[in-house]
Symmetry: C2
Subunit: 131 residues, 2 copies
Amino acid sequence: MKVSTEVQARPLLADVDGGMCPSRLVLEHVTSRWGVLVLIALLERSYRFSELRRRIGGVSEKMLTQTLQTLERDGFVHRDAKPVIPPRVDYTLTPLGEDAARRIKALALWTESLVPDVEAARARYDESRGQ
Amino acid sequence: MKVSTEVQARPLLADVDGGMCPSRLVLEHVTSRWGVLVLIALLERSYRFSELRRRIGGVSEKMLTQTLQTLERDGFVHRDAKPVIPPRVDYTLTPLGEDAARRIKALALWTESLVPDVEAARARYDESRGQ
DNA sequence: CGGTATCCAACACGATACTG
DNA sequence: CAGTATCGTGTTGGATACCG
Protein backbone atom coordinates (compact mmCIF):
# COMPACT_ATOMS: atom_id res chain seq x y z
CA MET A 1 0.00 0.00 0.00
CA LYS A 2 1.24 3.46 -0.93
CA VAL A 3 1.94 5.64 2.04
CA SER A 4 0.64 9.16 1.82
CA THR A 5 3.86 11.08 1.61
CA GLU A 6 2.23 14.29 0.46
CA VAL A 7 -0.82 15.93 1.80
CA GLN A 8 -2.62 17.74 -1.00
CA ALA A 9 -0.73 15.77 -3.66
CA ARG A 10 -2.93 17.21 -6.38
CA PRO A 11 -3.51 20.84 -5.59
CA LEU A 12 -7.03 22.20 -5.67
CA LEU A 13 -8.21 22.90 -9.21
CA ALA A 14 -4.96 21.83 -10.81
CA ASP A 15 -5.09 20.90 -14.46
CA VAL A 16 -4.72 17.35 -15.64
CA ASP A 17 -2.42 16.24 -18.48
CA GLY A 18 -4.13 17.89 -21.42
CA GLY A 19 -6.95 20.13 -20.34
CA MET A 20 -8.56 21.62 -17.28
CA CYS A 21 -9.60 19.66 -14.28
CA PRO A 22 -13.32 18.84 -14.06
CA SER A 23 -13.98 21.10 -11.09
CA ARG A 24 -12.44 24.03 -12.90
CA LEU A 25 -14.95 23.50 -15.70
CA VAL A 26 -17.87 23.47 -13.29
CA LEU A 27 -16.57 26.60 -11.61
CA GLU A 28 -16.26 28.24 -15.01
CA HIS A 29 -19.82 27.39 -15.93
CA VAL A 30 -21.42 28.77 -12.78
CA THR A 31 -19.25 31.88 -12.65
CA SER A 32 -19.42 32.62 -16.37
CA ARG A 33 -20.67 36.01 -17.41
CA TRP A 34 -24.22 34.91 -18.20
CA GLY A 35 -24.28 31.81 -16.01
CA VAL A 36 -24.16 33.96 -12.90
CA LEU A 37 -27.04 36.12 -14.08
CA VAL A 38 -29.15 33.15 -15.15
CA LEU A 39 -28.73 31.40 -11.82
CA ILE A 40 -29.57 34.52 -9.84
CA ALA A 41 -32.64 35.25 -11.96
CA LEU A 42 -33.97 31.71 -11.72
CA LEU A 43 -33.54 31.87 -7.97
CA GLU A 44 -36.52 34.21 -7.75
CA ARG A 45 -38.82 32.16 -9.99
CA SER A 46 -38.95 30.13 -13.19
CA TYR A 47 -38.70 31.95 -16.50
CA ARG A 48 -39.48 31.39 -20.14
CA PHE A 49 -36.70 31.90 -22.67
CA SER A 50 -37.53 35.37 -23.95
CA GLU A 51 -38.73 36.46 -20.57
CA LEU A 52 -35.39 35.49 -19.11
CA ARG A 53 -33.64 37.27 -21.93
CA ARG A 54 -35.44 40.52 -21.15
CA ARG A 55 -34.94 40.03 -17.42
CA ILE A 56 -31.20 39.77 -17.84
CA GLY A 57 -30.76 42.32 -20.58
CA GLY A 58 -27.85 42.63 -22.95
CA VAL A 59 -27.56 38.93 -23.64
CA SER A 60 -27.77 37.64 -27.21
CA GLU A 61 -30.00 34.68 -28.05
CA LYS A 62 -26.97 32.65 -28.87
CA MET A 63 -25.25 33.22 -25.54
CA LEU A 64 -28.40 32.64 -23.53
CA THR A 65 -29.06 29.39 -25.37
CA GLN A 66 -25.50 28.28 -24.88
CA THR A 67 -25.50 29.20 -21.20
CA LEU A 68 -28.80 27.44 -20.55
CA GLN A 69 -27.67 24.32 -22.36
CA THR A 70 -24.46 24.15 -20.40
CA LEU A 71 -26.26 24.65 -17.10
CA GLU A 72 -28.87 22.09 -18.07
CA ARG A 73 -26.26 19.56 -19.03
CA ASP A 74 -24.45 20.07 -15.74
CA GLY A 75 -27.70 19.45 -13.89
CA PHE A 76 -28.22 22.97 -12.52
CA VAL A 77 -31.19 23.93 -14.66
CA HIS A 78 -34.29 22.01 -15.65
CA ARG A 79 -35.77 22.65 -19.09
CA ASP A 80 -39.47 22.08 -19.50
CA ALA A 81 -40.52 22.26 -23.16
CA LYS A 82 -44.29 22.18 -23.55
CA PRO A 83 -45.50 20.73 -26.86
CA VAL A 84 -47.83 23.57 -27.73
CA ILE A 85 -48.05 26.13 -30.48
CA PRO A 86 -46.49 28.58 -30.18
CA PRO A 87 -43.69 26.75 -28.37
CA ARG A 88 -43.31 27.40 -24.68
CA VAL A 89 -40.24 26.49 -22.70
CA ASP A 90 -39.84 27.08 -19.00
CA TYR A 91 -36.55 27.03 -17.16
CA THR A 92 -36.24 26.29 -13.46
CA LEU A 93 -33.46 25.46 -11.06
CA THR A 94 -32.87 21.91 -9.95
CA PRO A 95 -32.08 21.36 -6.23
CA LEU A 96 -28.40 21.35 -7.20
CA GLY A 97 -28.94 24.55 -9.14
CA GLU A 98 -30.56 26.21 -6.17
CA ASP A 99 -27.58 25.39 -4.04
CA ALA A 100 -25.27 26.76 -6.71
CA ALA A 101 -27.39 29.86 -7.22
CA ARG A 102 -27.44 30.72 -3.54
CA ARG A 103 -23.66 30.42 -3.28
CA ILE A 104 -23.11 32.46 -6.41
CA LYS A 105 -25.55 35.09 -5.29
CA ALA A 106 -23.80 35.38 -1.95
CA LEU A 107 -20.51 35.81 -3.75
CA ALA A 108 -22.03 38.40 -6.06
CA LEU A 109 -23.46 40.38 -3.14
CA TRP A 110 -20.11 40.28 -1.37
CA THR A 111 -18.44 41.45 -4.57
CA GLU A 112 -20.81 44.39 -4.87
CA SER A 113 -20.13 45.43 -1.30
CA LEU A 114 -16.46 45.39 -2.13
CA VAL A 115 -16.55 47.73 -5.09
CA PRO A 116 -15.75 50.93 -3.18
CA ASP A 117 -12.69 49.34 -1.56
CA VAL A 118 -11.48 47.99 -4.87
CA GLU A 119 -11.97 51.28 -6.66
CA ALA A 120 -10.06 53.08 -3.94
CA ALA A 121 -7.25 50.53 -4.25
CA ARG A 122 -7.16 51.02 -8.00
CA ALA A 123 -7.01 54.78 -7.66
CA ARG A 124 -4.04 54.44 -5.29
CA TYR A 125 -2.33 51.98 -7.60
CA ASP A 126 -2.86 54.08 -10.71
CA GLU A 127 -1.77 57.29 -9.07
CA SER A 128 1.40 55.80 -7.65
CA ARG A 129 2.66 55.11 -11.17
CA GLY A 130 0.44 56.73 -13.80
CA GLN A 131 1.34 60.31 -12.86
CA MET B 1 -32.54 64.51 -2.01
CA LYS B 2 -33.49 61.72 -4.34
CA VAL B 3 -36.07 59.34 -3.01
CA SER B 4 -35.56 55.64 -3.59
CA THR B 5 -38.47 54.82 -5.88
CA GLU B 6 -37.35 51.37 -6.92
CA VAL B 7 -36.14 48.54 -4.80
CA GLN B 8 -33.52 46.61 -6.75
CA ALA B 9 -33.83 49.11 -9.61
CA ARG B 10 -30.53 47.93 -11.01
CA PRO B 11 -30.40 44.14 -10.88
CA LEU B 12 -27.42 42.47 -9.32
CA LEU B 13 -24.40 42.50 -11.62
CA ALA B 14 -26.26 44.20 -14.45
CA ASP B 15 -24.15 45.94 -17.06
CA VAL B 16 -24.03 49.70 -17.33
CA ASP B 17 -24.39 51.64 -20.58
CA GLY B 18 -21.25 50.60 -22.42
CA GLY B 19 -19.38 47.95 -20.50
CA MET B 20 -19.70 45.62 -17.56
CA CYS B 21 -20.70 46.72 -14.13
CA PRO B 22 -17.83 47.20 -11.68
CA SER B 23 -18.77 44.26 -9.49
CA ARG B 24 -18.80 41.95 -12.49
CA LEU B 25 -15.21 42.96 -13.19
CA VAL B 26 -14.15 42.20 -9.64
CA LEU B 27 -15.91 38.85 -9.77
CA GLU B 28 -14.16 38.10 -13.04
CA HIS B 29 -10.76 38.90 -11.56
CA VAL B 30 -11.10 36.70 -8.50
CA THR B 31 -12.71 33.81 -10.38
CA SER B 32 -10.42 33.98 -13.40
CA ARG B 33 -8.54 30.87 -14.36
CA TRP B 34 -5.26 31.89 -12.71
CA GLY B 35 -6.71 34.34 -10.21
CA VAL B 36 -8.37 31.50 -8.34
CA LEU B 37 -5.17 29.49 -8.18
CA VAL B 38 -3.06 32.46 -7.13
CA LEU B 39 -5.42 33.39 -4.30
CA ILE B 40 -5.60 29.83 -3.02
CA ALA B 41 -1.83 29.41 -3.16
CA LEU B 42 -1.15 32.68 -1.35
CA LEU B 43 -3.58 31.63 1.33
CA GLU B 44 -1.09 29.08 2.60
CA ARG B 45 1.91 31.43 2.64
CA SER B 46 3.66 34.18 0.71
CA TYR B 47 5.47 33.25 -2.49
CA ARG B 48 8.12 34.63 -4.77
CA PHE B 49 7.30 34.98 -8.45
CA SER B 50 8.97 31.87 -9.84
CA GLU B 51 8.11 29.88 -6.78
CA LEU B 52 4.47 30.72 -7.28
CA ARG B 53 4.78 29.84 -10.94
CA ARG B 54 6.07 26.37 -10.09
CA ARG B 55 3.53 25.95 -7.31
CA ILE B 56 0.66 26.57 -9.69
CA GLY B 57 2.08 24.81 -12.72
CA GLY B 58 1.05 25.32 -16.32
CA VAL B 59 0.90 29.09 -16.12
CA SER B 60 2.99 31.20 -18.47
CA GLU B 61 5.06 34.11 -17.15
CA LYS B 62 2.86 36.49 -19.03
CA MET B 63 -0.37 35.25 -17.52
CA LEU B 64 1.03 35.08 -14.02
CA THR B 65 2.36 38.62 -14.30
CA GLN B 66 -0.92 39.84 -15.66
CA THR B 67 -2.94 38.05 -13.00
CA LEU B 68 -0.76 39.34 -10.19
CA GLN B 69 -0.91 42.89 -11.49
CA THR B 70 -4.67 42.79 -11.73
CA LEU B 71 -5.02 41.38 -8.23
CA GLU B 72 -2.53 43.89 -6.89
CA ARG B 73 -4.33 46.78 -8.54
CA ASP B 74 -7.64 45.62 -7.07
CA GLY B 75 -6.05 45.52 -3.62
CA PHE B 76 -6.11 41.74 -3.11
CA VAL B 77 -2.39 41.12 -3.36
CA HIS B 78 0.56 42.97 -1.91
CA ARG B 79 3.77 43.10 -3.93
CA ASP B 80 6.98 43.47 -2.01
CA ALA B 81 9.94 44.13 -4.33
CA LYS B 82 13.23 44.04 -2.47
CA PRO B 83 15.96 46.19 -4.04
CA VAL B 84 18.62 43.50 -4.10
CA ILE B 85 20.57 41.67 -6.76
CA PRO B 86 19.33 39.34 -8.00
CA PRO B 87 15.85 40.86 -7.72
CA ARG B 88 13.52 39.35 -5.18
CA VAL B 89 9.78 39.96 -5.15
CA ASP B 90 7.41 38.50 -2.60
CA TYR B 91 3.68 38.33 -3.03
CA THR B 92 1.27 38.18 -0.12
CA LEU B 93 -2.44 38.60 0.41
CA THR B 94 -3.84 41.81 1.82
CA PRO B 95 -6.61 41.48 4.43
CA LEU B 96 -9.09 42.02 1.60
CA GLY B 97 -7.32 39.34 -0.41
CA GLU B 98 -7.50 36.89 2.47
CA ASP B 99 -11.22 37.37 2.67
CA ALA B 100 -11.52 36.86 -1.07
CA ALA B 101 -9.24 33.84 -1.05
CA ARG B 102 -11.20 32.12 1.70
CA ARG B 103 -14.47 32.61 -0.13
CA ILE B 104 -13.02 31.44 -3.42
CA LYS B 105 -11.42 28.45 -1.79
CA ALA B 106 -14.72 27.49 -0.18
CA LEU B 107 -16.40 27.76 -3.56
CA ALA B 108 -13.66 25.67 -5.16
CA LEU B 109 -13.98 22.96 -2.52
CA TRP B 110 -17.73 22.89 -2.95
CA THR B 111 -17.25 22.65 -6.70
CA GLU B 112 -14.91 19.70 -6.31
CA SER B 113 -17.39 17.90 -4.10
CA LEU B 114 -19.96 18.42 -6.81
CA VAL B 115 -18.05 16.84 -9.67
CA PRO B 116 -19.57 13.36 -9.37
CA ASP B 117 -23.11 14.74 -9.42
CA VAL B 118 -22.36 16.94 -12.39
CA GLU B 119 -20.70 14.15 -14.33
CA ALA B 120 -23.68 11.90 -13.68
CA ALA B 121 -26.00 14.65 -14.89
CA ARG B 122 -23.93 15.09 -18.03
CA ALA B 123 -23.97 11.38 -18.75
CA ARG B 124 -27.76 11.36 -18.45
CA TYR B 125 -28.07 14.41 -20.66
CA ASP B 126 -25.73 13.10 -23.33
CA GLU B 127 -27.32 9.69 -23.39
CA SER B 128 -30.84 11.04 -23.69
CA ARG B 129 -29.94 12.66 -27.03
CA GLY B 130 -26.54 11.51 -28.23
CA GLN B 131 -27.68 7.95 -28.94
C1' DC C 1 -41.71 31.47 -29.75
C1' DG C 2 -37.55 29.23 -29.22
C1' DG C 3 -34.20 28.09 -31.04
C1' DT C 4 -30.00 26.73 -34.93
C1' DA C 5 -26.38 27.99 -38.38
C1' DT C 6 -22.94 30.94 -40.17
C1' DC C 7 -19.85 34.60 -40.32
C1' DC C 8 -16.47 37.60 -38.43
C1' DA C 9 -14.06 40.87 -35.21
C1' DA C 10 -11.96 41.16 -30.72
C1' DC C 11 -9.33 39.37 -27.52
C1' DA C 12 -7.25 35.88 -24.39
C1' DC C 13 -3.42 33.18 -24.17
C1' DG C 14 1.07 30.94 -24.98
C1' DA C 15 5.74 30.98 -27.07
C1' DT C 16 9.68 33.39 -27.75
C1' DA C 17 13.07 36.84 -27.33
C1' DC C 18 14.87 40.48 -24.84
C1' DT C 19 15.93 43.79 -20.49
C1' DG C 20 17.24 45.78 -15.79
C1' DC D 1 15.27 36.65 -10.97
C1' DA D 2 11.47 39.04 -12.43
C1' DG D 3 9.75 40.86 -15.48
C1' DT D 4 8.50 43.54 -20.61
C1' DA D 5 7.63 43.41 -25.67
C1' DT D 6 6.09 41.32 -29.67
C1' DC D 7 3.89 38.09 -32.40
C1' DG D 8 0.72 34.34 -33.90
C1' DT D 9 -3.30 31.69 -33.15
C1' DG D 10 -7.45 29.67 -31.20
C1' DT D 11 -11.45 30.71 -28.81
C1' DT D 12 -15.20 33.81 -27.44
C1' DG D 13 -19.11 36.11 -28.34
C1' DG D 14 -22.24 39.35 -30.95
C1' DA D 15 -24.96 40.17 -35.32
C1' DT D 16 -27.53 38.30 -38.72
C1' DA D 17 -30.32 35.14 -41.11
C1' DC D 18 -32.97 31.15 -41.19
C1' DC D 19 -35.96 26.96 -39.31
C1' DG D 20 -39.77 23.98 -36.85
